[in-house]
């Protein structure tokens, strides 16, 4: 009851503050306040209230460790992105300088993160202090490297249940998870994109056949379908782990290509009715020229947006499959598996925040890349199509 009353009181205060804010604003005579709705003013006040709450949480609540980390991380990343953009604006050839000059902060953040991930993935063997499969004698070393607390400076993030260095596995995870997801998405786009454009251009029975096949595939819940196929595939692959990974790439690629097909067909359908396609047909151009030279350049914007999104979905599917134990197989390091293996550490949040953060680091690695890729794709879309908002 008190809680409800408290909320109502806060609400009333905010509304009153909003009204006062608008009133003062109107006295100052700025155009912004002239047509401001009360709801808008209330929104501003709510924002201020929440910001104040955040500041209070940050400075005066010792238990809010994770919140503090999140805020610090946000600020650090923002500064890094800003510096990166500043660097890009002043170093390098004229073309990239111009690119960086028009770039929003979100995009430079995304590019920075993608570069970091790429470097980590490519040079994992050099950067990681240990091998991903190396097993050490000390198991369950706590993170932090503080000997008194049960840590070990040789393993900054500690070791897992069978004594593998977690920092190294986190770095190798970039190689495996991102690499496999990227390969899968590219295959899905090649397959779905080509078939979708073909269906849009030729139409008729081919369109019907392909579309109905895609409908059937899409009717089955994708994760369960992938699980089912992976079970079959693991029987085929037997003990050959690499073969199983290959099967996984193909299975996820095919399942995801149905979504790409849908998009490519819809976008292609809008483009083939244009007069310039008719002109090209009347010129006597072949199918390959039509698809790759006339249609594809006009479909890049939506396909690019889909690529960013699809990449993230594939990434998450692989992580989920690994989490369920049928994806990337040990001893290969992978973030999905790490989240599963380390998940019980989250119970230690009250005693040792750093330990509890271990599964969050793997999950955060996934989340960060997802956000980064989408920032970059949004920006590319904005640039290529003049997309507003």
């Amino acid at each position: 009851m008190n809680l409800v009353l408290g909320c109502l009181a806060i609400l009333a205060v905010l509304v009153a503050a909003g009204w006062g804010f608008r009133f003062v604003g109107r006295m100052s005579g700025r155009a912004l306040f002239k047509d401001m709705e009360l709801a808008t003013a209330f929104g501003w006040m709510l924002l201020v209230f929440l910001a104040m709450g955040g500041v209070w949480l940050f400075f005066f609540v010792p238990a809010a460790v994770f919140f503090r980390w999140a805020v610090q991380g946000f600020i650090v990343f923002a500064i890094m992105a800003f510096l990166f953009r500043l660097l890009g604006r002043n170093v390098g050839p004229n073309g990239t300088r111009r690119l960086f000059r028009q770039m929003p902060l979100t995009a430079s953040f995304g590019i920075l993160i993608i570069i970091i991930y790429a470097v980590l993935a490519i040079f994992a063997g050099v950067i990681a202090p240990h091998g991903q499969e190396e097993v050490f004698a000390r198991v369950n070393v706590l993170p932090g490297g503080d000997v008194a607390m049960g840590g070990d400076p040789a393993f900054p993030l500690g070791t897992d249940q069978i004594g593998r260095d977690l920092l190294s596995r986190l770095i190798y995870g970039a190689q495996n998870t991102v690499g496999i997801a990227f390969a899968t998405t590219v295959i899905a786009f090649l397959l779905g994109g080509t078939l979708g454009f073909l269906a849009a251009t030729i139409g008729g029975w081919l369109d019907q056949l392909l579309s109905r096949m895609v409908d059937v595939l899409m009717a089955i819940p994708s994760l369960i379908f992938a699980l089912l196929l992976m079970t079959i595939a693991s029987a085929w692959a037997g003990s050959q782990q690499q073969l199983l990974t290959l099967y996984m790439i193909l299975i996820i690629a095919v399942i995801d290509s149905t979504r790409v097909y849908r998009l490519a067909r819809a976008v292609g359908g809008n483009i083939v009715v244009m007069d310039y396609i008719e002109a090209a047909k009347l010129r006597g151009e072949g199918m390959v020229y039509l698809i790759f030279k006339e249609i594809l350049p006009n479909a890049t914007s939506p396909l690019l947006a889909e690529f960013g999104l699809r990449f993230c979905f594939v990434f998450l599917t692989i992580a989920s499959l690994s989490f369920l134990g049928v994806g990337i197989q040990p001893p290969l390091a992978d973030w999905g598996t790490m989240v599963r293996d380390l998940s019980q550490f989250i119970n230690f949040a009250a005693f040792s925040p750093l330990t509890a953060a271990l599964p969050l680091m793997a999950a955060g690695a996934i989340a960060l890349l997802t956000v980064a890729v989408n920032f970059v794709v949004d920006w590319m879309l904005h640039r290529s199509s003049g997309l507003k908002e």
Binding site: A31, K34, Y276, A279, R283, N298
Partner: protein, 547 residues
């Protein structure tokens, strides 16, 4: 008496690439009650922007940077939104260019009609419906009692435009802004809309701003005319003075556009083989036949204009000739030899000989390719030119269409104006070195001055290269300017055909007569006279059965 609308020193800026550029440079405008002002100019002259600003409104990305807009003593530029809300729709109404795009397709017309009066509390829903039906009757819409209960897609474009005028009238506003209300309509439909708009504006003594690029239309509608050019006022005068004695050079050039005409060519000897002949073509989509036994010939170096309203099948003939729509019956002959009906069966050389220029240059040019690529492709594809030879040919073609190669060859279509885009379309057709070019309404999307430039270019190219044109159009002024022979089509049949001199001289087929008499003339009394001649009551009927 105070003036209804008074605009002083209006300046409007538009935002592009993060900078503000001025698009209207200080316009003054005054309007009395019950007066109709015509605003004319080319696209980009700022006439729509000024029209919207009269409501105190600007499009997204525009702002009023200076000046005042005073409506009946109320300052609108800095008025709070609540003040504007009370005025707009009730005392100031707006009729947009495309009624089809302005109606919500998910609601019935009458429901959209009653929205304004009920929102403003002028009438309740029942009263407003009854009033709407009364307005439909006044605007001479067919079946006024029930037409409002249809959805927008169930009525024709001209009727929708009148329904929108009724909607603007629903609160009996003091001022209506008409933004090119008849531009998208056929000549015969246009007359009906013009007549009903003019009547109802007079009847309710409403003031109006009539925005258009068509001088002949504005001559019928407006009491006064103001000419705009690139955001500046050129001149203003009452309609009769403006038409008889324009003072500015620009206005004179606008007036002179319609005078372009080509000399008559000698008769064709009887035994010459036509370049393209359409023989007894019957064609359609699915089981519905659009063309019925259409036959006509096109001779070398001549321009054949195919004329008719939308739906008369003139574009379908073009699709049959190009082979996109193989006819059910009949033949297409090229230089006396039958061509395969389906374009997929035609040889590369046969495809090369028949080229097409499209109405909408926007959709006819691939937006992702540079001008050089667009024109270069047919050069490479048909003639096998590569590298420097291809580039030289592309530059030659650009010279031919009067565009400077150095500037334009690497541009994208979006960086060109409408007229320039249409020129690129012509260059692409020429690149194939064809004998025969189909021009499908190539000038109807362009301003008059620009359109005239395109027509002159086409005429010059014909004289230089001996091309044969099939010119599809609904605009008889264009026909008069460029055609040698005319084919009049209606409901998929050829109604009349022959040399231009014969076609423009009586006696005509009744349909040709209707088409010819519907072309607006620069005489301000033309509409009044025409209506008197036809008998006003027949106008509405003509809409129902279109003769």
């Amino acid at each position: 008496m105070t003036q209804l609308l008074k605009i002083r020193g209006l300046k409007i800026e538009g935002r592009s690439d993060e900078t503000w550029t001025q698009i209207v440079n200080g316009i003054d405008l005054e309007l009395d009650r019950g007066e109709v002002l015509g605003l004319i100019g080319e696209s980009g002259a700022g006439k729509s922007t000024v029209g919207l600003a009269a409501m105190g409104f600007t499009r997204d990305g525009c702002r009023i940077s200076a000046g005042t807009v005073e409506f009946d003593g109320i300052e609108l530029v800095n008025a709070p939104a609540a003040t504007k809300r009370a005025l707009l729709g009730k005392r100031i109404a707006y009729v947009a260019q495309s009624a089809a795009a302005s109606f919500n397709p998910a609601h019935r017309i009458i429901d959209q009609h009653t929205e304004g009066p009920t929102q403003h509390g002028v009438m309740d829903k029942g009263e407003s419906e009854a009033d709407g039906i009364e307005l439909y009757r006044k605007l001479r819409l067919p079946n006024p009692d029930e037409i409002g209960f249809r959805y927008p897609h169930q009525v024709s474009g001209g009727q929708l435009q009148r329904a929108m005028t009724a909607m603007a009238m629903s609160c009996r506003p003091d001022l209506i802004i008409f933004d090119e209300p008849t531009t998208a309509l056929d000549v015969t439909t246009q007359i009906e809309v013009l007549a009903s708009i003019r009547d109802i504006v007079k009847q309710f003594d409403t003031a109006a701003i009539y925005i258009t690029h068509d001088l002949a239309v504005v001559a019928q509608m407006a009491d006064r005319i103001k000419v705009l050019l690139k955001g500046d006022e050129v001149e203003e005068a009452d309609t009769r003075t403006m038409l008889s004695a324009p003072t500015q050079a620009y206005t004179k050039s606008l007036w002179a556009v319609r005078s372009f005409q080509r000399p008559l060519k000698p008769d064709i000897p009887n035994d010459t083989v036509p370049v393209v002949s359409v023989r007894g073509v019957t064609a359609g989509y699915g089981s519905v036949m659009v063309l019925h036994d259409v036959s006509f010939d096109m001779h070398a170096g001549r321009t054949v204009a195919v004329v008719g309203e939308s739906g008369s099948g003139k574009s379908t003939v073009a699709r049959c000739i190009t082979g996109l729509l193989p006819p059910k019956k009949g033949a297409i002959e090229f230089n006396g030899k039958a061509m395969p009906l389906d374009y997929r069966r035609r040889t590369k050389d046969q495809l090369r000989q028949v080229q097409m220029i499209y109405q909408m240059a926007d959709t006819a040019l691939n937006p992702r390719k540079t001008i050089g690529e667009i024109i270069g492709r047919p050069v490479e594809f048909y003639l096998g030119f590569k590298g420097a030879k291809k580039r030289a040919r592309v530059e030659e073609l650009l010279h031919l269409i009067e565009l400077e190669p150095k500037i334009y060859v690497d541009r994208l279509p979006s960086e060109l104006s409408g007229g320039q885009k249409q020129r690129i379309g012509i260059a692409r057709a020429l690149a194939a070195e064809p004998q025969f070019i189909i021009c499908d309404e190539v000038t109807s999307a362009l301003d008059q001055l620009v359109a005239e430039g395109i027509l002159k270019l086409l005429a010059r190219l014909q004289d230089e290269l001996g091309l044969t044109y099939m010119f599809i159009t609904h605009d008889l002024a264009t026909v008069r300017a460029i055609a040698d022979e005319v084919v009049v089509m209606k409901d998929g049949r050829v109604v009349e055909q022959g040399g231009k001199d014969r076609m423009f001289a009586p006696p005509h087929h009744p349909y040709t007569d209707l088409l010819l008499s519907s072309v607006p003339e620069m005489d301000p009394d033309w509409l009044t006279n025409l209506l008197a001649e036809r008998g006003v009551d027949n106008i509405g009927d003509a809409a129902v059965d279109k003769m």
